[in-house]
Structures are given as structure tokens and as C-alpha cells.
């Protein structure tokens, strides 16, 4: 492993290190690379063209349909899928479930990268991207705007996610003190992150509240924000299942035994979680349906489309998740995850382009330009490239290095000490480092070798 990571003492060392890390690990000519590289390059060209010639040059957006695939899929669906991060950190750090600990880093990394890349997609969708700083610097603060809230929460959430994932970078660079500081911030960042996620996942739905009359009544409801929030739970977890399944194969060489062994239990557990959330979601949908007296719509074509989405892509995967987790059948769970993800995509697209202006006949309805789809693919591939680069160099699917685990112990020790000092001063002497045979002083600079 990169023993040289341990000795970065100067900027020159840092450059040497980065240069070494930039070298590709693994084969350059793989089917994935061969397909994704030209897509990414073309995507960059198309984005440059869009910057010069305006949005209309690479999209099919129109005065009737101001939002298209870049918002409906990249931003909205992408953010829903990134919801696995806040759900999983809730389970691991709030409910203290060690069962899911092995996949936290991968999930948080994916969440962080997703937000970064989909914020990027948002930037190219803006008419004046350089003005994206306006709501941040106060030119001006649109305080009554839901989007203002969503924008700020995106920014703050990316910061929180970065703090959550940054211990990984500190481990990669071998920066012990930084690793300790960042490690102690994790819980706070998680709490912040879950709070922010609740608000911006629902906030993305709230963006449509003023599009009353433009969104088909089967989808429009004052409860859109709650529906978006709940669906982000099982959407995010389904993505974790999907991504975890692929990683098991593709990144097997970077996984330690603990990761490999825990995979099955984790997938089954996540399947149960999805099933539960989907049951809740389904009941909410039924409630909204009955409250709105939407029965007459069911016999229309739009009613059939609604049933496909709710029954075919929510109820059926929910039942499949239940079955798969009861019978411990990973395959069924994976199929359910894919169906669920398709359902989320369709749901978000319904709100933004399909059931939006549903009364506009199909020939004039928005259909994405191939360039929009191409750039979307380029963004997804680019994110996978970055994810792969990080996984191949940093402890994502493995235990952190010994010294990092020691740092975590120190953090825990100091916390217990602080609590004891507050609560039971007389029992300080009883506190020892649990399970550790090594005594690691708090201010030691050198670190043991990585096993």
C-alpha cells in the first residue's frame, strides 16, 4: 500500500504523492472506459457549446416546458437517489446499528459525489450560471422562495457530507491531527445532514406547489413535499442496494473480508427498510387519493399511467422486497431495487415534464434532446470515474488504517472522559480504553505502520 502517504511533510512531498496517485490503477482499456470516455469528452464539448450558444442550442426546453431532463432527472432523481446517505448515517450514527457500518463510507461518498455532480448539472441548466452566487452573497435573498431554501440546504448539505467523508481523505494523506478533528465532527455533521436532507428532499417537491393546475391532479397535492421525502428514503436505499451489488463485483479487489461477509445481511436489512418506507408511502398516496376524490381519473389514460407508477413500481417492488428479505433471496431484492429506482425516475419526471402540462398534446409536449441525454450520461460516467478513483486509493470498502482506528478510539475516550467529568467525577479511574492493548497517548505524532 502507499507507504509514501505517511510522509507528507512539505508541499513538494504532496505534489510527488499526488502525481503518483494520479497514475491509473488497473487496465485502461476496459469496456466501461471505452464507452464512457468518449461520452464524457463529448459531454464537455456540448456543455461548452451550450455556454456560448444558449440553452436552446442543446436542449428542447421551451416557453411551455421550462424544465427538462437536466432538472427532472439529473437534479431531482439524482438527489432522491443520494438519499441513502442521510438514511444510512441515521441508522449507523443515531440508532447506532453496527450492522450497516461497513457500507457507510461508500454510501456517504456516493452521496457527496452525487450532490457535487448534480449541482454541476444544475449549473449548466441555469441561464446565467455565474449568478449562482447571488443567493449566497445576498444579491438578493429571496426569503419567501422555496428554491432559496433548497439552494442553501444543498450548499450546507454538501459541506456536511464533505465533513462526513473527509476523514477518508485525511487517512489517504496520512494527516493524523486533521483526521482527529474531522472525526470528532462526524456526529454533528450527521445530525446537520439529516436535518438538511429532510428539508431539501421535501423542498424539491415543494418547488411544484405553485404549479397547481399545470400538474395533473393525480400527482398534484399539497402533500408533495412529504411524498418526495418518504420516496427519497426508499429511493436512496434502493440505490445503495444497486450500487452495493455492482461494487461487490467491480471493486472486489478493494474489499476486505468484513465487507464481503456482511454484504448479504446488509442487503436483506436494506430490503426490509425499503419495504417499510414503501408501505408508508403507499398509504400516504392512498390517503391523498381518497382525500382528493380522484376516482374518476382512474379510468382515463393518465389514470392508467398513475397505476403503473404506484402499483407497478411501488406496491410490487415493496412486496418483492418483503419476500426477498423474508426468504433471504438477494436476487429478488435486487430486482425490486431496480424496479423501485425506475419508479422514482418516473415519479420525478412526471412532476417535471410528463404530468407537467399534461393537457398539452403529445406532439408539442417536451421530449428530451439527444444532447440533453448525452450530457446527463456524461455526468453520471464522470461521477463513476471519480468514485472509482477514490475507491482505488482510499479506504472506502475496507477498514481504515490502524492508526486511524486508534484516533477514533481516542475521540471516543475523550468523549467518555468529558461525560464522566460532568456526571461522575469519582469514576474517572474506572475508564480505560476498551479492547485496546496498545496505549496511544493523545499527542503522539508518529504513527504505526499500516498492517
Amino acid at each position: 500500500m502507499a507507504a509514501s502517504a505517511r510522509e507528507i511533510r512539505s508541499f513538494r512531498d504532496f505534489l510527488v504523492f499526488i502525481r503518483a496517485e494520479l497514475k491509473p490503477k488497473g487496465k485502461l482499456i476496459t469496456p466501461f472506459n471505452v464507452i464512457s470516455a468518449p461520452v464524457i469528452v463529448l459531454g464537455i464539448i456540448l456543455v461548452a457549446y451550450r455556454m456560448v450558444k444558449g440553452l436552446g442550442s442543446v436542449t428542447n426546453l421551451s416557453q411551455e416546458f421550462p424544465w427538462g431532463v437536466w432538472i427532472g432527472f439529473d437534479v431531482m432523481t439524482g438527489v432522491a437517489f443520494a438519499g441513502g446517505a442521510y438514511v444510512l448515517t441515521f441508522v449507523v450514527y443515531m440508532l447506532r446499528s453496527e450492522k450497516y457500518h461497513p457500507i457507510v463510507r461508500a454510501t456517504v461518498l456516493n452521496g457527496f459525489l452525487a450532490y457535487v455532480f448534480y449541482a454541476g448539472a444544475l449549473v449548466i441548466d441555469l441561464g446565467r450560471p455565474w449568478h449562482i452566487f447571488n443567493p449566497i452573497i445576498g444579491n438578493k435573498f429571496g426569503l419567501y422562495s422555496v428554491l432559496f431554501l433548497v439552494a442553501w440546504h444543498f450548499l450546507l448539505y454538501m459541506t456536511a457530507e464533505f465533513i462526513e467523508i473527509s476523514p477518508v481523505f485525511a487517512e489517504w494523506l496520512g494527516w493524523r491531527r486533521v483526521r482527529k478533528i474531522l472525526g470528532s465532527l462526524t456526529v454533528g455533521a450527521v445530525i446537520f445532514g439529516i436535518t438538511l436532507s429532510t428539508l431539501h428532499q421535501s423542498g424539491l417537491g415543494a418547488l411544484f406547489l405553485m404549479a397547481k393546475g399545470k400538474i395533473h391532479p393525480l400527482w398534484y397535492t399539497p402533500f408533495i413535499p412529504i411524498l418526495f421525502f418518504i420516496s427519497s428514503i426508499f429511493g436512496g436505499l434502493s440505490m445503495v442496494i444497486f450500487e452495493g451489488t455492482i461494487s461487490q463485483r467491480v471493486f472486489a479487489h478493494r474489499m476486505d473480508n468484513e465487507h464481503r461477509a456482511s454484504h448479504e445481511d446488509i442487503i436483506i436489512g436494506l430490503g426490509k427498510g425499503c419495504a417499510g418506507a414503501m408501505l408508508v408511502y403507499f398509504f400516504l398516496k392512498v390517503l391523498v387519493f381518497i382525500h382528493g376524490k380522484h376516482w374518476p381519473y382512474l379510468v382515463t389514460p393518465w389514470g392508467s399511467w398513475y397505476l403503473i407508477e404506484v402499483v407497478g413500481l411501488v406496491v410490487i417492488p415493496c412486496l418483492l422486497f418483503l419476500r426477498g428479505s423474508i426468504y433471504r433471496n438477494l436476487k429478488i431484492i435486487r430486482v425490486a431495487a431496480v424496479l423501485t429506482m425506475i419508479g422514482i425516475i418516473i415519479n420525478r419526471l412526471n412532476y417535471s415534464v410528463i404530468a407537467f402540462k399534461w393537457y398539452v398534446p403529445l406532439p408539442e409536449h417536451y421530449v428530451p434532446h439527444w444532447m440533453e441525454i448525452e450530457t446527463t450520461l456524461a455526468i453520471v460516467f464522470a461521477e463513476i470515474w471519480v468514485f472509482r478513483w477514490i475507491v482505488n486509493r482510499m479506504p472506502i470498502f475496507q477498514q481504515p488504517p490502524e492508526w486511524a482506528r486508534a484516533v477514533e478510539e481516542e475521540i471516543r475516550f475523550e468523549r467518555r472522559l468529558a461525560t464522566a467529568q460532568n456526571e461522575r467525577p469519582e469514576s474517572i479511574s474506572e475508564i480505560t480504553l476498551s479492547g485496546s492493548s496498545q496505549h496511544v497517548p493523545a499527542n503522539r505524532e508518529s504513527v504505526p505502520d499500516n498492517p
Partner: protein
């Protein structure tokens, strides 16, 4: 419970509070009494003859290409406003003959676009008009939110603007009437304070009950608009959306915005509590 993490959690929550729109609470009710004084225009569609002088005058006042008003073929299709035409006149065939209707931004009392805009590029001025400013990011949420689908986006510009009627804001500041009002030969457009114009509209309907349909469009629609219409026929026959309701559109987001400060405070508290409750004491 660990004091440090509790304090951290609560301080994160309070830090988050500073971005919450508590200001939303004092917004809504003040406007209703202010709206009497907003500038407004009364459009009497029984007087409009479709001469399109208003379209010409608007184009001239805004340095946009001047439409050829002698070409009547434009009336064959219902037109929308565009990035180069901030107002258009449409023709409708009704039981009472041809009716011409001028279409432009309605300058709502409580505009959806201004509430939706995260940088206050769309702004309701205190005099009444709703105008667009240059700090716009081009996110187009105003287009998604407007019940009348008015804002139009310059998709083919690298530095796009949103184009819509601005109530001739600059002329108003110089003490002049909107260009379209001044140009109208039939006095189909009358400019004044909203309250007076509603009274004038009611007077016209009252004095000519057979001539007019008994409704002023814009008096209550979406909480009231600055452009008021009276007509000889029901409004759905002349291209108006009659299902927009009387609720001001920003009200629809109120529930969500009010929930924000509660989530920002309660969530960190609950989460910290859960974490502390699930703590396994180590000895």
C-alpha cells in the same frame, strides 16, 4: 448524555435557523389593504377592435421589433406573449361576435413569480408593477410558478433574460402612462388606482347590465391582479383561465415554509435524543 455533542447538535440547528424564512409570517396580510393603491389597468374588451396599436406602442417603448399590425392573419391562431412581444391581442369568435383580448402580465397583487424567485429578480414594487431585474440566475422557476404562463425566457442567448410586461415601469417613474394605455384609440385600456378602476368597472356593468358579463376578471382571481378585465361574454370563451381560484399563489408554499424552522430545531433535538437513548454504557 454527552454535553459536547448535544451542544454541537443544537448549535448546528440554530445555525441552520438563520437561513429560515421566518419573515414569511408577516408578508401576506399587509398586502390586501395596500392593493387598493396599486396602479392598475382596466381592459374593456367590448371596446377593443383589435387594431394592435398597443402591441406597436409596447414594442416601441421597449426597443423591440415592431410588429406589422396591418397583417390580420395573426388572429387565426391564439398567440402567446414571447421574448420579443410583451403583449399580444387575440381574437375570439363568440355568440356576441368577435371579441379581441389583450394579453400580458397580470401584475398580481401577490405574484407567484416574485415569491418563487430566490434572488428577488422578480419583484413586486410597492407601487404595484411586477418587474424583472438583472441579478436573475435563469433558473426559470418563475415560469413554472406563474398561473398565467407569462414569463418568457431567451433560450438562444448566452446571457438570457426573462421577458414580460413590466407595466412600463420606467415611464411610470417619469410620470407617464403605460405606452399601450396611451396608444389605445378606443380607450379600451384605462389606467388608474386599482380601487378606482374596480369601481369604474362595476359602474359600467351596473349601468349596462345587458352589455356586460357580470364579472370583473382579476378582481379576486389569484388573490387579485393589477390588470382587470370586463367582457360581454363569459371569460372562458375568450381565452381566460377560470379555474385559477382566488387564493394568492404564494399561499400554497406557506405550509412548507412554516415547517422549516420547526424541522431545523426539532430534528437536531430528536436526533441527539435518539443517539443518547441508544447509547451503550461502556465500563
Amino acid at each position: 448524555m454527552d454535553r459536547r455533542s448535544f451542544l454541537k447538535a443544537v448549535s448546528f440547528g440554530i445555525a441552520g435557523l438563520t437561513t429560515s424564512p421566518f419573515a414569511a409570517t408577516k408578508r401576506a396580510h399587509a398586502k390586501h389593504s395596500l392593493s387598493d393603491d396599486f396602479v392598475a389597468v382596466l381592459v374593456d374588451t367590448t371596446r377593443c377592435i383589435g387594431c394592435r396599436s398597443c402591441e406597436e406602442a409596447c414594442a416601441e417603448a421597449h426597443h423591440l421589433p415592431i410588429p406589422d399590425v396591418s397583417d390580420d392573419s395573426v388572429f387565426e391562431k391564439e398567440r402567446q406573449t414571447s421574448t420579443s412581444q410583451l403583449t399580444v391581442v387575440n381574437r375570439y369568435r363568440t355568440e356576441k361576435g368577435e371579441v379581441f383580448v389583450k394579453k400580458q402580465c397580470m401584475h398580481c397583487n401577490e405574484p407567484a413569480c416574485a415569491a418563487a424567485c430566490l434572488v428577488k429578480a422578480m419583484q413586486k414594487r410597492k407601487e404595484g408593477p411586477v418587474t424583472w431585474q438583472d441579478n436573475c440566475m435563469g433558473c426559470r422557476i418563475c415560469m413554472v410558478s406563474c398561473p398565467f404562463d407569462i414569463p418568457k425566457f431567451e433560450y438562444h442567448s448566452w446571457n438570457p433574460r426573462i421577458q414580460k410586461c413590466d407595466f412600463c415601469w420606467e415611464r411610470l417613474m417619469r410620470g407617464e402612462e403605460p405606452a399601450c394605455v396611451e396608444a389605445c384609440p378606443q380607450e379600451a385600456l384605462v389606467f388608474g388606482r386599482r380601487k378606482e378602476l374596480i369601481e369604474e368597472a362595476k359602474r359600467r356593468i351596473y349601468q349596462n347590465p345587458d352589455k356586460y358579463y357580470h364579472h370583473i376578471y382579476g378582481e379576486h382571481e389569484v388573490g387579485g391582479t393589477g390588470w382587470l378585465y370586463i367582457s360581454a361574454v363569459p371569460f372562458e370563451q375568450i381565452g381566460f383561465k377560470t379555474d385559477v381560484g382566488t387564493t394568492a399563489y404564494p399561499e400554497y408554499t406557506k405550509g412548507f415554509l412554516y415547517a422549516v424552522p420547526f424541522v431545523l430545531i426539532l430534528w437536531p433535538a430528536f436526533l441527539t435524543a435518539i443517539r443518547s437513548l441508544t447509547k451503550v454504557e461502556e465500563e
